[in-house]
């Protein structure tokens, strides 16, 4: 019989429906392993049968599901409890006994063996428990670290989004600030929305302020400096919103004590813009 004849002989159907003899079943499994056409033909019939069985299925009574699932649950719990260490097992001896000393000896020996086994098992389970516990806390700290990183990413993304929005606004004027004679290499930009009066500072190229100090922005109007806010150094990589400024001829940045000053400290002027 060639493969084609074999496939159409009805043996596949007979096997799938459980009607073939042991030898026929063995032969078919061999044929399936050797010829993918046979395997495929079997799969096709199986799928066909499954489809039909589902199509022609009969809904069993609802209570059956509850019954079966509760039995499964009991079995699952039993299974789980079997995996736990049995601590008190060796203590379970029947209450009333009338045995010879010989038997007692044997039973004592058996109890010792049980106790030893149980002890070993306890160690084993404790080891497992400890291992999983460590793995769990490692996972937990990895997760925490990821969360922190995620939060930082989010913040950065928000910062960049603000930056892009601000820069895209056509009412925005860009005012460049240059380093004074003491720091000619410093530069920063003020983004000033003349319509909404919003002010943003981009100070990416400034060095970090010394401990306990902060950069403060000033709006210069007729020679009088008006506080425009202190730069939050954590935000220096993107546009930082500052105080609103309604009118100014130029801007300046000074180094002040943390939290800012009411008026700029003399000699601390770092950057100014051209008027």
């Amino acid at each position: 019989m060639n493969v084609k004849e074999y496939i159409s002989s009805g043996i596949i159907e007979s096997y799938v429906l459980g009607l073939s003899s042991a030898e026929e079943a063995e032969e078919l499994e061999r044929m399936c392993a050797a010829h993918s056409e046979v395997y495929q033909a079997r799969s096709i019939f199986e799928e066909q049968l499954e489809r039909n069985a589902i199509l022609l299925g009969v809904q069993p009574p609802k209570k059956l599901k509850t019954l079966i699932l509760s039995e499964i649950e009991i079995d699952a719990e039993l299974l789980a409890s079997k995996r736990m260490p049995a601590v008190t097992e060796e203590k379970k001896t029947p209450l009333i006994f009338n045995f010879t000393p010989r038997l007692w000896k044997r039973m004592a020996a058996a109890a010792v063996v049980l106790l030893a086994t149980s002890t070993i098992l306890n160690f084993y389970f404790y080891y497992q428990y400890d291992k999983y516990n460590r793995e769990y806390s490692n996972l937990l700290s990895a997760k925490k670290q990821q969360d922190t990183e995620h939060e930082q990413m989010q913040k950065a993304m928000q910062g960049y989004a603000t930056t892009v929005n601000v820069m895209a606004d056509t009412n925005m004027a860009v005012i460049n600030l240059h380093g004074m004679h003491n720091h000619p290499e410093y530069s920063a930009s003020v983004y000033w929305n003349k319509k909404s009066k919003d002010v943003y500072l981009m100070a990416k190229d400034l060095p970090p302020p010394p401990q306990g100090r902060a950069y403060q922005l000033w709006a210069m109007m007729d020679g009088t400096p008006v506080d425009a806010g202190v730069l939050d150094w954590n935000n220096k990589n993107w546009l930082t919103p500052m105080n609103k400024v309604s009118a100014a001829q130029s801007f300046a940045i000074t180094l002040e004590k943390e939290g800012g000053s009411d008026s700029p400290t003399a000699g601390s002027m770092y950057l100014v813009s051209n008027p």
Binding site: S9, E50, A53, L56, G57
Partner: protein
């Protein structure tokens, strides 16, 4: 996932296959109460034996079908159910010491049984005896007074017919 005995996966399995499995059991045992018992037995043994399911030997459903059919046939045999069903007075069958004293009307044309109606009588009988009653080919040869080879060929042809009737 199922093979690691996950109860929620089993819940899904039940939702998906319970009607199909019930449709296999019912036409074999022909009694709702009995079929309900077998259903419990079958799904519990699916749960317990899931590790022994070998995908190389066929689809999960095929495996379940065979568990369901075997359990149903086993019951037919152990309770000599077939005697009770063949128009014998109830008195003679009371000794099966179970709760099923009242026979229900036969449940016809349910599940895979539905497909049988369209087969030729001769083929229908063979499928009935082998698949639904669980007789071996040898037993059928004896019942029908046919050579074993003929029985085998005819059953296979009947199965091919049955397959052609499927969607």
């Amino acid at each position: 996932m199922l093979q690691s005995r996950d109860a929620s996966a089993f819940n899904y399995l039940y939702e998906h296959y319970a009607p199909a499995v019930y449709g296999i059991i019912l036409p074999i045992v022909n009694e709702t109460e009995v079929a309900n018992d077998i259903m419990q037995e079958v799904f519990l043994s699916i749960w317990k034996k899931i590790e022994s399911y070998d995908p190389a030997k066929g689809r999960l459903f095929t495996w379940m079908l065979n568990i369901a059919r075997n359990a149903s046939i086993d019951l037919l045999r152990s309770r000599s159910f077939q005697n009770a069903r063949k128009n014998q007075p109830l008195m003679e069958t009371v000794n099966w010491n179970s709760g099923y004293h009242v026979m229900q009307p036969e449940i016809d044309a349910i599940g895979l049984n539905k497909l049988l109606e369209k087969l030729k009588e001769e083929q229908r009988v063979l499928i009935e005896l082998s698949y639904f009653k669980g007789y071996t080919h040898e037993e059928i040869a004896e019942i029908e007074g046919l050579p074993l080879g003929t029985v085998k060929t005819r059953i296979r042809n009947a199965l091919i017919q049955l397959r052609n009737l499927m969607k």
